[in-house]
Amino acid sequence: MAQRATDRIDAGSTVSLAIPADPASVGTVRYFAATIARHAGLPEELINDLRLAVSEACAEAIDAGVTGSIRVALSLDPEGIDVEVTSDGFIRQEGEGHGREGLVPINRQQLISALFPDAETDQGRGMRVVRFTVPHASSSGA
């Protein structure tokens, strides 16, 4: 019988990391998420998708001018890993761009949704939360 991802780590556990809203910290989030996912036994293809999705969620918050911190939480359950990326001090409204010279903006939310179709975003009271689930088997839509 195939071993499920969460057999290797306590189901119901949540591990989290908070970083300053600084581009230099986003690589740390990717490393953190990949380490947890690898420990949970996810295949490398899904780990790469998770790295990309959390990176995009953090970058979107920073692009939007978040002034506080960004917290990435990974909760292990029998279905896989529930991911929440919460940013405080979210100041820009939905749809507003953040121009950078020499860069054509790509829609980060669409990219996250392409990787994990259940992705959703809640925003209000200066906070923004991006949620998605990484299944324990390779079933992402890409």
């Binding site: 581009p23 230099a24 986003v26 690589g27 990717r30 790469n48 998708d49 790295r51 990309l52 990176s55 995009e56 953090c58 970058a59 920073i62 692009d63 950078r100 020499g102 860069l103 054509v104 903006p105 790509i106 829609n107 980060r108 990219l111 392409a114 990787l115 890409a142």
Partner: protein
């Protein structure tokens, strides 16, 4: 972590080799390297991504801007990458239909 960037000429193309992770923090280094080439009138550019272990949409945005800039000058910007995470993010965003893509620098420059 910084990107490692290097450029050389090959068969009339400027080949930009990129090594490392391209994200919100490092994409400005890639942008500056492409801008520098176009300012030097190098408008036929191959960006070799074979040694890029991660790329997010910040990097893609820089590449699209570089493509536009090269084409405005009558040039081209082609990408080289193998199977893996870079191929996936380029495919999932549909940019493989916008860029000329190749498996090797030699193939991109017509030298293979």
């Amino acid at each position: 972590m910084d990107l490692v960037l290097g450029s050389r000429s090959e068969n009339g193309w400027a080949v930009l080799e990129v090594q490392g992770e391209v994200d919100l923090y490092t994409s400005s280094q890639l942008r500056d390297a492409i801008l520098r080439l176009t300012e030097e009138a190098e408008n036929r550019i191959v960006v070799d991504l074979n040694n890029v272990s991660f790329m997010d949409s910040s990097g893609l945005g820089v590449l699209v801007a570089g493509l536009k800039r090269a084409r405005e000058r009558g040039g081209e910007l082609a990408l080289v990458f193998g199977e893996g995470s870079v191929q996936k993010v380029i495919g999932i965003t549909g940019l493989d239909k916008i860029f000329p893509t190749h498996r090797s620098v030699g193939e991109a420059t017509g030298g293979a």
